[in-house]
C-alpha cells in the first residue's frame, strides 16, 4: 500500500467543538438535516450548527434503519443468511452475498470452483457499474435538484442501470436481492447467450460514460461545487478506517482486488484508479474511472469464463445441512463502497454464534464531523453525496 502525494491538512476541525464556548457572528442555529429529507441517502440525521450559512459543527446520528440483522442471523441456518444480508447494502447486493459466503467457505475450507469464481468476479464488476451509476445519479440530484439538471443526469444513469439489472435478471431471476450465491459457489449458472447480451449492454453504457463525464467532470458548475469541498486528509482517512473510492481519492493506492485478490482477480489485471485532492471532485473522478475500468474488465472476462461446475459443495437440500466447526474467520472484499468485511464466529452448530459485518459506509460517515464544518449547507449536501453512504449497511 503506497501513498502517492497524499493530502495533508495541518489544522484539523475539532469535531467535539463546544457550542457554548463558540463565538458566532450572529446567532448559532441548529438545523436538523433530519431523517426525512430528500438528500440524506436513506434515513440519516445530521445536526448542523449553522453560523449564518457556514456550518460550524456536525453531529451525525445513525441507527434509523437498524433492523438487527446480525442478531437475526444468529437464528438462521447458514444457507438462509444469504437472502437476508442481501438487504444490507441494497445498492450492491451481489457483493454482500459474496462477502458472507466467502466467510462461510473460508470457515469450511471449501474451495470454490474456477467457473464460480469467474462468475462472481463478473457479477461484482457489473454490480460496481450499477452501483456507481446510481451514485452518480443521486449525486447529481444533490447538486442540481430533483426539478432540474440533476434529475436529467439521474434518469440517464438509471436508464443505463436498467440494462445491468436486466442482465442480472437473466441469470438469477431477480433484479435486486438475487440470492444467487451459496456456500461453495453460485446457484444459478449463466444462460446461453448471456455474454452477447452483456456486450450489447456495455456497448450502450460505454459511450454514455463519455456523456456523463461531459455533463459532470467537464462542467464548470459541477467543478465549482465539488472542487476543494470536503477535503479529507489521508491520515484522518486511514485513522477512521475509510477504504474504497474515498481513500483512493486521497491518494492512497490501495485496492483489495489487487492487494488481497479474491474471486478471480488474481487472474486479471485490475487497474486501480486513484486521484489527488481528497475532495468531492477527486472522489467523483475515482468512481467514474472505476466505472470505465469495470466495463473493460467485464468485456475482457465475459467471453472467457471457464467451463466447469459452479458449486463445489452440495446444493442445499436441508437447512441443517451445513454445520461449520468452531472457528473464527474474517473475510473482506472490495465493494463499490470500500472494504466490506464479514467476521464469523461459529460454534459447530448450524447457526453462527456471531456474525459481524464491517460496513464501509459507517466508516465513511464517521468522517463527516471533520470535513463538513467550514462549508455551507450546500457543501454539506455535496459532501454527503460524495461519500456514498448506504444506510442499510451502516445500520444493518
Amino acid at each position: 500500500m503506497t501513498a502517492l502525494r497524499t493530502v495533508q491538512i495541518t489544522r484539523r476541525v475539532d469535531p467535539h467543538l463546544s457550542v457554548d464556548r463558540y463565538d458566532p457572528e450572529g446567532e448559532l442555529m441548529l438545523l436538523h438535516f433530519g431523517p426525512q429529507h430528500p438528500s440524506t441517502h436513506g434515513v440519516f440525521r445530521m445536526d448542523l450548527y449553522l453560523d449564518g450559512e457556514k456550518v460550524v459543527k456536525v453531529v451525525p446520528h445513525v441507527g434509523y434503519l437498524h433492523r438487527a440483522v446480525e442478531k437475526l442471523c444468529e437464528t438462521l441456518a447458514y444457507v438462509q443468511i444469504t437472502p437476508i444480508v442481501d438487504k444490507n447494502d441494497y445498492v450492491a447486493p451481489m457483493t454482500n452475498e459474496q462477502a458472507l459466503n466467502m466467510a462461510f467457505e473460508a470457515a469450511l475450507k471449501l474451495e470454490v470452483p474456477r467457473r464460480a469464481r469467474w462468475m462472481r468476479t463478473l457479477f461484482a464488476e457489473l454490480q460496481r457499474i450499477a452501483s456507481h451509476l446510481l451514485w452518480l445519479g443521486t449525486f447529481a440530484l444533490d447538486l442540481g435538484g430533483a426539478l432540474g439538471g440533476g434529475s436529467t443526469v439521474f434518469l440517464h444513469c438509471f436508464r443505463e442501470r436498467e440494462l445491468v439489472l436486466d442482465l442480472f435478471e437473466d441469470v438469477t431471476g431477480a433484479r435486486f436481492h438475487y440470492n444467487t450465491h451459496t456456500i461453495g459457489g453460485n446457484r444459478h449458472d449463466l444462460p446461453a447467450g448471456w455474454s452477447a447480451k452483456v456486450h450489447a449492454a456495455l456497448d450502450v453504457i460505454g459511450p454514455r460514460l463519455d456523456e456523463y463525464e461531459a455533463m459532470t467532470l467537464e462542467n464548470r458548475i459541477f467543478l465549482d461545487r465539488t472542487s476543494g469541498v470536503g477535503q479529507l486528509d489521508t491520515e484522518l482517512a486511514l485513522e477512521l478506517g475509510i477504504t474504497g473510492p474515498i481513500l483512493r481519492a486521497c491518494g492512497v493506492d490501495h485496492d483489495l482486488r489487487r492487494d488481497a485478490p479474491f474471486h478471480a482477480y488474481d487472474e486479471v489485471k485490475v487497474k486501480v484508479i486513484t486521484s489527488q485532492g481528497g475532495d468531492c471532485l477527486a472522489r467523483a473522478r475515482v468512481r467514474l474511472g472505476e466505472m470505465r475500468e469495470s466495463v473493460r474488465l467485464v468485456r475482457q472476462m465475459v467471453d472467457a469464463v471457464p467451463e466447469g461446475s459452479i458449486n463445489s459443495g452440495k446444493p442445499v437440500k436441508l437447512p441443517v445441512q451445513t454445520k461449520i466447526p468452531p472457528t473464527q474467520v474474517y473475510v473482506a472484499i472490495e465493494t463499490p463502497r470500500g472494504e466490506l468485511g464479514s467476521y464469523l464466529i461459529s460454534d459447530g452448530t448450524q447457526f453462527p454464534y456471531r456474525l459481524k459485518i464491517r460496513p464501509p459506509s459507517l466508516h465513511a460517515l464517521s468522517a463527516l464531523p471533520y470535513i463538513v464544518p467550514g462549508g455551507t449547507v450546500s457543501d454539506a449536501v455535496a459532501i454527503l453525496g460524495s461519500l456514498d453512504p448506504i444506510m442499510g449497511e451502516v445500520d444493518r
Partner: protein, 322 residues
C-alpha cells in the same frame, strides 16, 4: 379618461385570462419537454397526450388539507401566495403584445416592470419568515439576497434598450425595433450581451436553475414553500410559471422586437418569441446543475454588474456617435 380606463380594464382582464391559461398550458409543456429531454414520455394518460394533466394537478391540490403550522404567523402565511401571483401578473400590464393589444402602455413602462418585479421579493421572504421553519427561513434569506442582488444587472441590461430607443415606454421600444432592427440583431455587439445578462438576471429573479438555491429541494426540502400545502402551494407554484412567462414576454419585447417580424407583424410573433424564450428557460433548467449561493453572488457582483455598466456606457456612446 374613461375610455382609457375601459380599454385598460378590458385588456387587463383579457391578458390575465390568457396568461393564466397559458400558465396551465406551460405546466403541461414543461412536463412534456422535460420528459423528452430525459428520454421519457411525460404525462400521457390524462386527456389526449396528457393535456388535462394541469387540471388533474389542480384538482389534486384543491382537495389537500390546508395546514397552517402552529407557531406560524397566520396573516403573513396566508397572504403571501396570492401576493406572489399578483406581483408576477402585474408586469404583464405594460407588455405590448401587439400594436393594439396592450393593457396600459405607461410612459414609464420599463420602470414599472422592474418595480413590480421587485415586489416579488416580499412574498418570498414573508413565506420564509412566517412558516416558522428553519429550512424555509434559510430559503427566504437566500432568496432575498439573490433577488435584490440580481435586480441590479436586470436594471442595467434593461437600460440598454431604453437608451437605444430613447424611451421608457415599452410600446416605443418595440416600435423602434420594428422600424429599424431588433436590438439583438443590430447593434449585436451591445444587444446580444445585454440580452444574455437580461436572461441570466431573469433566471435568477424567477429562481430557476442554475440560480434556484432558494428553493433547492435537495438541500432545503422545498425552500420557502416547505410548509405550504394544497391550494396555497399551487398558487406559489403558479406564480413561478407566471413570472417566467411574463419575464419572457418582457424580454421578447425589449430585445427581440416584440410583435415585429420579417412578414406580417402582429400578435403571433410576440407569442412565438415568448414561447421560444420560455422553452429556452426550461431547457436551461433541465440541463444544468445549480450554483452555490456565494458563487451566485460572485457571478452577479463581479461579472454581471461590471459588464452591465460597460454595456450601458457602450449603448450611450452608440446613440451619441450615431
Amino acid at each position: 379618461m374613461s375610455e382609457g380606463l375601459l380599454h385598460g380594464v378590458v385588456y387587463s382582464v383579457l391578458i390575465v385570462t390568457v396568461v393564466l391559461t397559458a400558465t396551465a398550458l406551460a405546466l403541461w409543456f414543461e412536463r412534456k419537454f422535460a420528459a423528452r429531454l430525459q428520454t421519457r414520455l411525460g404525462p400521457t394518460m390524462v386527456g389526449p397526450s396528457g393535456l388535462l394533466q394541469p387540471v388533474a394537478d389542480l384538482l389534486k391540490l384543491l382537495q389537500k388539507e390546508d395546514i397552517v403550522p402552529q407557531d406560524a404567523d397566520p396573516a403573513i402565511f396566508n397572504i403571501t401566495p396570492p401576493l406572489a401571483a399578483l406581483a408576477a401578473l402585474g408586469a404583464a400590464a405594460v407588455v405590448p403584445f401587439s400594436p393594439t393589444v396592450v393593457a396600459s402602455d405607461l410612459d414609464v413602462g420599463v420602470l414599472y416592470v422592474l418595480a413590480v418585479g421587485a415586489i416579488t421579493v416580499l412574498p418570498v421572504f414573508g413565506a420564509g419568515w412566517a412558516s416558522n421553519n428553519k429550512l424555509a427561513l434559510l430559503g427566504g434569506m437566500r432568496a432575498v439576497a439573490q433577488s435584490i442582488s440580481y435586480e441590479v444587472p436586470l436594471l442595467l441590461s434593461a437600460m440598454v434598450p431604453v437608451i437605444l430607443s430613447g424611451s421608457l415606454r415599452l410600446g416605443a421600444i418595440v416600435q423602434m425595433q420594428a422600424d429599424h432592427h431588433w436590438f439583438v440583431v443590430w447593434p449585436f455587439f451591445i444587444g446580444i450581451p445585454a440580452f444574455g445578462i437580461f436572461l441570466l438576471a431573469m433566471l435568477a429573479e424567477s429562481n430557476r436553475i442554475p440560480f434556484d438555491i432558494p428553493e433547492a429541494e435537495s438541500e432545503l426540502v422545498a425552500g420557502v414553500t416547505t410548509e405550504y400545502t394544497g391550494m396555497k402551494f399551487a398558487v406559489f407554484y403558479m406564480a413561478e410559471y407566471i413570472h417566467t412567462l411574463v419575464a419572457s414576454a418582457v424580454g421578447a419585447a425589449l430585445f427581440l422586437g416584440g410583435w415585429d417580424g420579417p412578414f406580417r407583424p402582429g400578435l403571433h410573433w410576440m407569442v412565438l418569441k415568448t414561447l421560444l424564450l420560455f422553452a429556452g428557460v426550461y431547457w436551461i433548467r433541465w440541463s444544468l446543475l445549480r450554483f452555490r449561493s456565494d458563487q451566485l453572488m460572485g457571478l452577479c457582483w463581479k461579472v454581471l454588474v461590471p459588464t452591465g455598466v460597460a454595456l450601458v456606457a457602450a449603448a450611450a456612446a452608440w446613440v451619441v456617435l450615431r
